[in-house]
Subunit: 202 residues, 4 copies
């Protein structure tokens, strides 16, 4: 395999990229001058060097302010330390944070747990979440996609946390179900209707 | 315009049907024998003859059981008469009813109110809903699509009902917002996240 | 099953219509007044009464000009009687005729032959095409979709006609392959490229 | 703008990549270890260093066999030197070459000419194609997408070549039009039908 094919294969591993588009990436980069590629290489290395995983929430962050290993959110005194939200991935954290609807702390699980997975610890940060949970926390909000894998992850985490931290009396909650923006009544499944009725606002 | 083209035009008025598919319908019917078309014609006329609009909820129903002008749901003594759900169309009623999540009564509004509509009465059954509301009702649930036109209809109805029936002290509610089945966190808008957080279940 | 459900089932047999849209058709018709339904019924019956299958090309046509059983195209003295185009369905005939690119005669096969079909005679008008072919015809153009079922139909007809009318020395042709409107080189399969190269115009 | 945002912006320039997917690329790379990024960087630089534009056909190629500046196809004595195919981009060349339907030489135009473009020379390799055309060539096949911009490029090149090389008596051809794989008769435009009929095979 020549370097062209090898690089095509690498790009083919990028999320959502098939072999055809991967090849187009290589051709695209060939049309660019050297300084373009040097700049991408430089940025990649800079980010890799300056990006740390937060020791508390396990999200990636730019430690350019000598913060040590704790990110700006986890070290922010104005955030509500009694709430901990567990999300699957960094992008989920970003979406929540951008909504400005939540002022508590986060924990990035690092993935989700497929149904019938025998070894969940290999998939998600179980030991890390165990260490993170303590008596300061009054509520854990498990925020997962409303898919079967998301549901499975919620079920597993609920039981896991209840078993291990039964003594702490932590409330475990999940995101409310109902109509999302754009939902049309005619196409809703019975489950969503049921939840939308239970969560109705007066 | 010959009969073929005229019928094509009629089929083109059917919901969701363009001129090409309308023409295919005519060809399809041409390949069928006379008894097929007679049967469709017969059913159409039978339905038209036997279908009544319920005097209470304004949905179409088959009055084949000498029910008079009140449908089986409105005349069912086991339904919760203190709850009235307003939906836009018959299909919305069907989706809700199929979910088995609701045991109150219904009212079919007959449409929705577009933004900036100057004469809402032409669009929806305002006089009819006015006659339908009375002191027996404790809660009106306005169930509309989560779209701008649905929102506009909700806003209009809320104000309309409050103004006219202020004395009755009726609770007005709307379907809860949140994650619907299949929703992925990454793609949620801030509004849905906010509502999903507020409606979170513990 | 009540008439409503029966009619929904009938509409569900219409080409391209699923159960949900079929039900919407019934509701749509319920909102229309009686004269609307009467007009559709009248048109249906008029078309059924006035539509004949042409004894020569087997397409449906409106015999409102006392033409007997031969359509306007088959009886048109200006059409080229030495060319016969076989198409699968009436809509294919219409598309070809609308292009004004062809001045010969047609034959509607009435369908296509699936791969591995053991009894092609049940699917398409084989006896009828046998009767239609005669010594006046110099070329038969088999115009089928460029799909595996279209290809299969072409292969079958070619062999069938050659065996039965070997003595007549009729040229059998098929539509040219190449780039169709909108085709992008990057996404073409090797077969299409090969044909486009062979058919290149100078 | 921090390095993370800058790199997201760079990835957003990649063909077919929006801001959301660009960000996902960055997160994806953050989860990879340093050796992964080093390998991509190394491949990028190696390809950039070892890739040359062929002096004859102007496609990118890996000059790892001390070929000088002429690619393996242009220097292959078994290719038909009397045929020259002009394509817009490297990927088009690849698709044609993979079909094994063509044994002549190529020329990569480097783009297409939009309608009403006043300065085509800025868009495509006009001077280079002028230098490339010579008396050895008997046929130039202009292979463009069957789109309005492809048509415009064909029209421009035909006139350009005829004016400049009138004396050489070169045949100029374009790819044949007709049904491409999967085409259905019912949806064909009149232009494609006309061409498919002209190119019909007997």
């Amino acid at each position: 395999m020549n370097p062209f094919e090898k690089l095509t294969e690498y790009f083919g591993e990028f999320p959502g990229i098939g072999p055809r588009q991967a090849k187009r990436f290589v051709y695209f980069l060939l049309t660019k001058n050297s300084s373009y590629i040097e700049e991408i290489t430089r940025l990649l290395n800079e980010i890799k060097k300056n990006t740390t995983i937060c020791n508390s929430c396990f999200r990636f962050f730019q430690n350019n302010q000598n913060l040590g290993n704790i990110c700006l959110i986890c070290s922010n005194q104005n955030r509500d330390k009694e709430k901990l939200m567990i999300v699957a991935r960094d992008v989920d954290f970003e979406t929540i944070e951008k909504s400005r609807a939540y002022n508590g702390l986060y924990f990035i699980l690092g993935g989700t747990i497929p149904i019938l997975e025998k070894d969940p610890e290999k998939r998600v940060r179980l030991r890390e979440i165990s260490k993170r949970i303590n008596g300061d926390i009054k509520e854990i909000i498990i925020s997962m996609n409303n898919t079967s894998e998301g549901e499975n992850t919620i079920d597993f985490l609920k039981q896991y946390i209840k078993e291990k931290f039964n003594n702490l009396n932590i409330k475990i909650s999940t995101l409310g179900r109902g109509l999302s923006t754009g939902s049309e009544l005619e196409y809703l499944d019975s489950d969503t209707i049921k939840n939308a009725l239970e969560n109705r606002k007066g």
